[in-house]
Symmetry: C2
Subunit: 420 residues, 2 copies
């Protein structure tokens, strides 16, 4: 049998001794049940049981973070201990299967009453997973090649309003953006395949404009069509995009599951743009769910090429520190050439380029500005230009004000979007 193990790191909170709590986790997620059963032999425990690799005590919690925890009997005023626990699971318990891995490392254990907090913070799987799933097909280099962009981030936008544009309105917008030299456009995650404007009509309308603009400019915009849907629709929608000459598909990872993403990966001919909507539900409570570090590893294994990370000063709850850590995670190899392009998004405009570059020290990002381009006072083309100027300033080491003094689009963006 394989000696390979999966390492799963948790931060736990419990009124029990950390050692006891770790034993409960390991038992629940491998050979145990609530009472000893006859067949649970020493051989089975040894061969299939989870091991406790390490326990590191952390500061205790002032109060239980999650409801339903049952402290030890007779302990009227328990200490809610916190600790980092690393468990190792035999790879042969599940094999190279993300769905079955999840049942082990992120399954019932969230519900155990011995815990008032349990969060999966890191995960290391053996290379067999990458051999099966194959990871990002295009990644950063493939995306850059298709988009024809080197030495700076891809500049992109999201079609806004998110929903409701007629095909003619959408065409006019895409035309303007494409002629303005934008690198990337994406559908909003709210816009999938709605009855009022079916995806196939949207694809035809958009690709017509993109090809026409490419004839003029020599540059073919990358457009991520939102092909999110049921399983059979993923293939149909993908084929509609590819047959129309499209060069990117977007999918809501949590809407189709990692299983849906890895299914798409088996036949996709274009990069997969991974949107993470619903992710907040899995991560915003710090005592539950999982860290982005785990999520991005699974999404990469499953085969996304781009992955949303939020951007600095976003309109969401996420801190800049967390965003920067997420970007770094996406750019950290797991088994080799398997990094993906982080997608900076939400509340982005030209002025966020300098801070982003300073904090992230990379140009390997896809920088999306929705309102920051669409609502630019000089119009959409000026919005695109301002984003490029922001990154020029960042790469040349200029301050925003300095560079804006000689670049009108950047100055207009500052006037409209800079927070006082």
């Amino acid at each position: 049998m394989s000696e390979e193990r999966v390492l799963a790191t948790y931060v736990i909170e419990t009124p029990y001794q950390l050692e006891h709590a770790a034993v409960v986790m390991a038992g629940e997620q491998s050979t145990g049940t609530f009472v000893s059963v006859p067949g649970e032999t020493a051989f089975i425990k040894e061969t299939y049981g989870a091991n406790i690799v390490r326990i590191t005590e952390l500061e205790p919690a002032a109060a239980p973070s999650l409801p339903g925890c049952k402290p030890p009997r007779g302990d009227a005023n328990p200490v809610y201990r916190r600790g980092e626990v690393v468990l190792s699971f035999p790879y042969h318990n599940f094999g190279p299967s993300i769905p079955n891995l999840l049942a082990t490392v992120a399954g019932n254990l969230y519900e155990l009453r011995e815990f008032s907090g349990l969060r999966l913070v890191d995960l290391d799987v053996p290379v067999q997973f990458m051999e099966k799933y194959r990871g990002p097909q295009f990644g950063i280099a493939g995306t850059r090649e298709l988009a024809g962009v080197t030495g700076r981030p891809l500049i992109g936008t999201i079609v806004k309003p998110s929903i409701g544009l007629s095909l003619a309105e959408l065409q006019a917008l895409v035309r303007e953006l494409a002629l303005a030299g934008i690198d990337f456009i994406k559908d909003d995650e709210l816009n999938g395949n709605p009855p009022y404007a079916p995806l196939k009509d949207r694809v035809r309308a958009v690709m017509e404009e993109i090809e026409r603009a490419a004839d003029k400019t020599g540059k073919k915009v990358m457009y991520a069509f939102n092909i999110t849907g049921d399983i059979d629709e993923l293939r149909e929608n993908h084929d509609v995009v590819v047959e129309a000459g499209g060069n990117c598909v977007m999918v809501g990872i949590n809407s189709v599951g990692f299983a849906g993403v890895s299914h798409l990966r088996t036949f996709s001919q274009v990069p997969i743009h991974g949107h993470r909507n619903q992710w907040g539900a899995m991560t915003r409570s710090k005592a539950l769910g999982m860290e982005f570090r785990v999520y991005q590893k699974l999404a990469r294994l499953a085969g996304v090429d781009h992955l949303h990370t939020n951007g600095l000063d976003n309109k969401f709850y996420e801190s800049n520190e967390s965003v920067v850590r997420s970007v770094r995670d996406c750019l950290t190899p797991m088994f080799g050439d398997d990094t993906v392009m982080p997608v900076l998004s939400s509340g982005q405009w030209a002025g966020t380029a300098i801070d982003s570059y300073r904090a992230m020290q990379t140009v390997d990002v896809l920088h999306l500005a929705g309102g920051g381009i669409m609502a630019h006072p000089g119009g959409v083309a000026a919005g695109v230009e301002s984003m490029k100027q922001g990154w020029e300033a960042a790469l040349a080491g200029h301050s925003l004000g300095e560079y804006a003094s000689t670049h009108v689009e950047l100055r207009q963006a500052m006037e409209k979007f800079a927070r006082p």
Copy 2:
């Protein structure tokens, strides 16, 4: 355009006025972005915008439940207001698509910084969803017919130890259970298609025993094989089960996504046993994620026939009140004949039958005891018998002690499993 709407009910927590917070939610999840954009016309807002149907103020929170909330500027000591908010979304924004519906009703809004809590607590979709997804194929009646059980719950067990049994050990266990007259057996959710005992071998081994026992007893046990896996594997695994004469498949709903479940539903020839492992991560923080009421509606639409709900006095954090509500939800029709069989599980034994019947007032449950059958002092057959006796007592209105005094298997179960 269709006048149909989707109604989504949330419990929110926010340092803003509830009305303002509801406007933010509605805007984010329909036509809005962080700044007004030129194309967001009155027509678009009216046709595609989400409406606020109702706001009901609840007791405020003492402190913010989730991190990252940004109170209004200048409000140094904000009140974290709580309220129930009902939003209505135009059906034509997404059409009958669970994946795209999720992006709207459960997407980015969890991350909005205006909120220190946001939980989806109910969801009503128009009938077009049921017309597309078709819901449970077998449901309660179809399951009862296949299992040959009327007038009482199906009595079942989970193979324990969860993992590690050799095929010969598994066969011996299944034989014993089948000859003891059990109605239902399931694989553990940890046991999918592991290299040490591939599903196809497990299916062959188990079905051999089940058919042999059926020849003797005239009763064919329903066995839920855990076919959880990647998308193409779902069909392969399903076919392996059906070709071997199997009559149920189990899938980890959150491991394959609702998209995976509804894909399986399109071709499954047997009932789908829906396991909800990982569900705790989506629900245990009361300020985040969703209520089981929403989850079970989506799982039923997607096509499960059985759905795990925990059982009374379970080993998890979930309260009995919550379990009973979940069972009732599964038994409440949405559009007609679309109820599913709730699966009572975790820490169950014969003694939980009486309380379950009293609290749930139904026999339409699948009552699973793992340790409660496997670790019964009289052996597995006595464990099964004790479960039947527990339900006899429940249905006849006897107390546990009373019925146990004349039924040895029930008495043995009490002696071992009853909590002092």
